[in-house]
Chain length 273, copies 4
């Protein structure tokens, strides 16, 4: 379906979904600030001292932002040429998830559950990414990460197996009296250690446990090299080898050739007479 | 010895060891779920609260899984054209190790020892790797890691020497009153620090100790670059430089051109008639 | 405006701003030692035990260094051909900021505020970088980092979004009774975890919290690969591929040969007669 | 001075310093085990429980090893064609340092000082590196690390400046009541944080301190990419780009050429008729 640029729906679509008109850009900038501010309000509301003092103001702001985002969501649904496509798209779902929790709070006034649902609100932050001007760079990163995914998965399966075995060994070696109360708990420790996070809430107490930990740590030190290697290689394959890999354009067919070509490899046109 | 595809042994071999027939794939999927579930059962059994409540169920499941894996192991031995080769292969040993500890538990009903042996059971998890479809990617990773091994070994020997000396210096500087009760304990601290794990169970208390720690940490920060560099370079050597690197050779001058070229960029010869 | 090399201003300019004359180098070396010593004095003054014992000496030294740096600053302003350009330049501002806090201390003798301002003094340390002879290497690093900045920014925005969502999830899962007292506090925990710092002042206590933490840690482990990949690729693009990459061109067929070749490997033409 | 292979000195030189004869290799293997065992003895002696029980045995072993190493050191001095060159060489100094502390212990029987000196003994471990067969790989690593040193130095100076400023800011923000008792202490914290070690002995308590820490951590996360990038690029420049960069040898002059060369670039001999 073509967009009628003169109808209200067409104009709204260009403003809300596009960023190439003045009004479209203004809308996006407004939206960015609204999202950032609303996230800030939710964060501040969670701080006990601030909540106690400014509860009324923060709650009003939250109601205001939710209404604004709801209107925006309805306008998006209305103005999109294919509302269902939008509704089922990634950002359509995110847009919906960023307003739903508030209304659930109204329906279910139970304190504790409310808090659990509140978290999904935060997902609206992802919408900020839509506004980034670094689309090209994001694309290079995305390509490299997707190309790495299969290798990263193999690597992750190896890590998970490793962590399972290390966790069990430590559970047996250290035992419940040193805080390794179960295999899952020991696996948690193994992950904390192999990723070099090292909280220190669980630490090996026995000499044998410390020896095993040392091996695990040095192993983790070497293992961290693997995902880095994968991503680096994939990234270098997504980009030209050298910033100096300058190109010459064929005057006949317009295709780019390496600078030192004699003939266009596309149409056979002679490049440097 | 050739496999007789019509005999029972031949059919079993194709189902159990192969993954290219429908039944073979079904068998592998079943096995995957059995392994994951049995590992989960062992993990859950180690959690005190769950063990107390569901001890009977978990124990029955463990008996069931062990019987299944034992039958599977015997069938593998029976169906393999060269049973001894399988028995001595890596996965043959892993398969055996994943059932033996249970039977040892039956023979030796002593509580504490039992727990120590239980850990080997977990090794059966490695069998999951057999089922991965990412064989190619695993191979690239494996090649790169093997090619890195010698350099990583040189690096590791340097780290071990370094950690020994740092550990001794800290033992002398901090002393037993600050928790550095022996050289091995100080080496453990040095490894925790240089790998950037940093539990915090042992920390330098004296100003000199903190200065030395700072140097060790910054050193560790720079040193972490070395294994990463090794693996990255080896990995980039295992893969074609560019995803676009497939080449076609010019029949006229012999120069390599990108696969999608129509003409040789060197002599102008038409490539794909 | 040209510099009159015989006037006092011209001579001062060459000594103070230049490093290619004997006096200019001597001035820079003096300045380096003065800066390092004055920073050391400020650091020592902050240590309670040293401050109590040597307060008079340290304070006198600080007065002395500040006077020296003030005279130096005035001489720079006087001798520079375009004082305003210097005044507004990066190092002009740093030079000013490295003397101002002391005078503010004199005007405002209030204890606590004084301490707050003192910190800016430390910025004078940056001037040391002026004296480094590793300008070329600093330039290569700078080029690579600037070229990486846009990609790093995209990456950082993703991390910030991720950390916000993880922080909220953990606030909901762990709750105030386990130390996750607010969303900002939980975000702080998420950053501590995903960067693999892992202080251990906040750690997950509930099983679900530990599972989520484990996922976050493994994610952080894989994510750390991304900035490394970005910087490595940009750095490799800033440098020639091989230390042996210097080439000589064959005068007969035009192909590039390694510098030490005697004959062209393509057409057999003798290269260095 | 040429070595007389038939004199005692010449024979000793070949055995002690060389590794290409049967006796030379045997000597090196013996030495390796002696060094490893003696280091182990020193480590075990530092463990209080072991020292109390086996003090006599461990002390005797230490005396024995020191005598052996002293005789070895004297034989090295005697057999080397240029004793002074050996005495002043890196390994000459290490060899001496690995026996001196024991004799100092005999002269100065004071308990505490003795411990301080004991540490230098550990340096003998470095001699193990002499025995490694991975000389080539060590050389590649060494070349890459040396080539990286200047860039790493620029990087390290930047880090030190950064850590100084961050340390001062945190000293002002957190203050003595939160454990940041002095600027050096705060710098120690900044290094612990930026290197992602994160002991947790000092942690920010104020909201502003936690915000600054978060920025420092994310910065450290990005900064860790820089040394890795430097080393990776230098390492990739020390090694051939591809394992497939196979070579063809010129039948006329013996020099290796890239596989696709038509003529030897050294002597002009035609390679592939």
């Amino acid at each position: 379906m073509a967009i009628d640029r003169n109808s209200l729906r067409g104009k709204l679509f260009i403003i809300i979904f596009g960023a190439h008109t003045k009004h479209g850009r203004q809308f996006d900038v407004f939206l960015l600030w609204f999202i950032v501010t609303s996230v800030l309000v939710v964060c501040l509301e969670s701080v006990p001292s601030i909540r106690n003092q400014y509860h009324g103001l923060l709650h009003s702001l939250e109601v205001f932002f939710t209404i604004v985002f709801t209107i925006e969501y309805l306008l998006r649904l209305y103005s999109h040429p294919k509302p269902l496509t939008y509704f089922l798209s990634f950002f359509g779902i995110i847009d919906l998830l960023s307003i739903i929790p508030f209304y659930l709070t109204v329906i279910l006034p139970a304190g504790h559950f409310l808090v659990t649902i509140r978290i999904i609100r935060l997902l609206r932050v992802f919408r900020i990414l839509k506004l980034t001007s670094f689309v090209h760079h994001a694309h290079v990163l995305k390509t490299a990460i997707i190309a790495s995914l299969q290798k990263i998965t193999v690597f992750m399966l190896t890590i998970i197996s490793l962590v399972l075995i290390i966790g069990t060994v430590m559970y047996v070696v250290e035992g419940e009296e040193n805080g390794f109360t179960s295999i899952p708990q020991s696996i948690y420790w193994a992950i904390v250690t192999i990723t070099t996070v090292g909280y220190g809430d669980l630490t090996p107490q026995t000499p044998l446990g410390q020896v095993i930990s040392s091996v695990v740590m040095i192993m983790g030190y070497a293992i961290i090299a693997v995902p880095t290697g994968i991503v680096t290689v994939e990234m270098s394959r997504s980009m030209p080898v050298s910033r100096k890999a300058e190109q010459v354009e064929c005057l006949s067919c317009g295709k780019s050739m390496p600078l030192n070509s004699n003939f266009c490899s596309n149409c056979g046109h002679q490049l440097n007479e």
